[in-house]
Amino acid sequence: MESTPAGEAVEVSREALTFARSLAAEGGGVPVDAVLVGEPSAELAATLAAYGVRRVHALTGEAFASYAGAAWAAGVQDARETSVVVMAAGTPRGNEVMAHVAAREGVAMAANVLSFSGLSPFVVTRQVVGGAALEEMRLADRPAVFTVAGHAVEAAPADVPGSAEVVVRAPAVAEADLVARVVSSEEPEPDLSGTLKSARVVVGAGRGAGSAEGFAELVELTELLGGSLGVSRVVTSLGWRPHHEQVGQTGSRISPELYIPCGISGAIQHWAGCSTAKSILAINTDPEAPMVTKATYAVIGDLHEVVPAINAEIRRRHR
């Protein structure tokens, strides 16, 4: 379980609890326990109860004061007692701690699971190739260890709430498991992508812009619409625009009213950052580009002809 600094359960953890509950129901109504680092706030305990958690194992003590993947995994092992399934949300921490658990238990682990199909054999379907393909994977070992991909299920409280009885634990942790721990954490760098993430309209530009100079008309369209400019990774790798403008798996995730990707092919890694836009207007020379086929609207053509014509039309009507 992961929670925010304010002590609320993060959404992906609530999704993982929902997933765990359906798995427990399939397994004949076995109980669901949660493990977390630190003692839960009253609010968090209430959420865990609402999500059907029977018992909360709260890991406390010096060993858990700062993050150490191996120590946290040792804490999970201590708390799991007889549990035959150990799972977490597919966050960086979730994947890391579960990989430690799997390595320590000598069992397989499946990252980013979307669903399960049957318990014997226990088979899960997970995302691979950055989401472009799925893998069916057998998890025959005990415990079965996996992480749940974001949005695999919708977070929903249980019909019958649990008791969320809190058990405080301070397991002994081996010195070796504390060697790799966070020694300092600083405020994150100022986030320059803020306006991009909150913009109502985002004009996107990819390799089709052609060069750093090829952005003039795109910037003008962005200004005419009072929006933000977002770019593909090719554009940042080539140094045409700064990284904080990148949209995608390794850039920002945006959900504007309208996204206007110009000269962007729509590779899965880019799509990961813009798929939740309300509508998409693709401008591309290639009618078969994935971005065009996935878009709501499209204009087929050279962006260096289409975009200036749009700008001129806006200026004509809105002078």
Partner: protein
């Protein structure tokens, strides 16, 4: 100081993904192959750490004969030695790969890997390797430096920018984004061609991945409404802007 960096030959997944007939792998015949993005950064960091400590950077891969291409790519950007564990990587699960790397890594002070491979996305080879070797492991960092037998590694964490300081020998997995991998120069490529590559056989037979099969997600139905071609589409586009209310009249 001796640095080992592990890379994997993967299908370039930026274009359409096609599966092999037996649905056990992604078919790379049309897409081409590359090294995972995280590993390009791990290679860059390995070369930087080797230079800063007056040491060496060795690149390792487990893969079939064609994976030599990824070893040469790493040699072209500054690695000076290469180890090729010749095996069909598709029959290797993450625990198998970790065991094979461990058989080589014992001589090295620092082992760098990508946080996760672009194809299998397992998130665990580095961690399993650390347990095989009985060494500390730091995950998902974007900066790595070494001084006085201590590796300092940092990256964006849950609570802001997080720093770890771990004594050598250690294992570190790298995420893309902290360093700009350098491009190979022509002399770099020429030199890379001449480096002898140490070929090894696997030390154990693989247990295999727990894969049943791969599937492609169903393609989303296309509902795109084409507003027109070229500059002539401009009036229809501006009509749309007005209709969506993204342009104030």
């Amino acid at each position: 100081m001796k640095v080992l960096v592990c890379v994997k030959r993967v299908v370039d997944s930026s274009s359409e993904v096609v599966l092999t007939d037996d649905a056990q792998a992604v078919d790379g015949r049309y897409a081409g192959f590359t090294m995972s993005a995280h590993e390009e950064c791990a290679v860059e960091l390995a070369v930087q750490v080797a230079a800063a400590t007056g040491g060496s950077a060795t690149v390792l891969t487990l893969g079939d004969a064609d994976a030599v291409e990824q070893l040469r790519a790493a040699l072209a950007v500054g690695c000076t030695e290469a180890v090729h564990v010749l095996a069909d990587s598709s029959t290797y699960g993450p625990a198998d790969v970790a065991r094979e790397i461990a058989a080589v890594a014992g001589d090295f002070d620092l082992v760098l890997l990508g946080n996760d491979a672009a194809d299998s996305g397992d998130f665990q080879v580095g961690i399993r390797l650390a347990y095989e070797l009985g060494r500390p492991v730091v995950n998902g960092v974007t900066n790595v430096s070494v001084a006085d037998g201590i590796v300092t590694a940092s990256g964006a964490g849950t609570d802001g920018h997080e720093t770890y300081r771990v004594p050598l020998p250690a294992v570190v997995t790298v995420l893309e984004g902290g360093v700009e991998p350098r491009y190979p120069t022509v002399p770099g490529r020429m030199k890379a061609k001449k480096v002898p590559i140490e070929e090894r056989s696997p030390v154990a037979s693989p247990v295999g991945p727990s894969r049943v099969r791969l599937l492609l997600p169903p393609p989303a139905p296309s509902n795109v409404q084409v507003l027109g071609k070229g500059a002539d589409a401009a009036p229809a586009v501006v009509d749309l802007f007005e209709q969506l209310g993204v342009l104030s009249r």
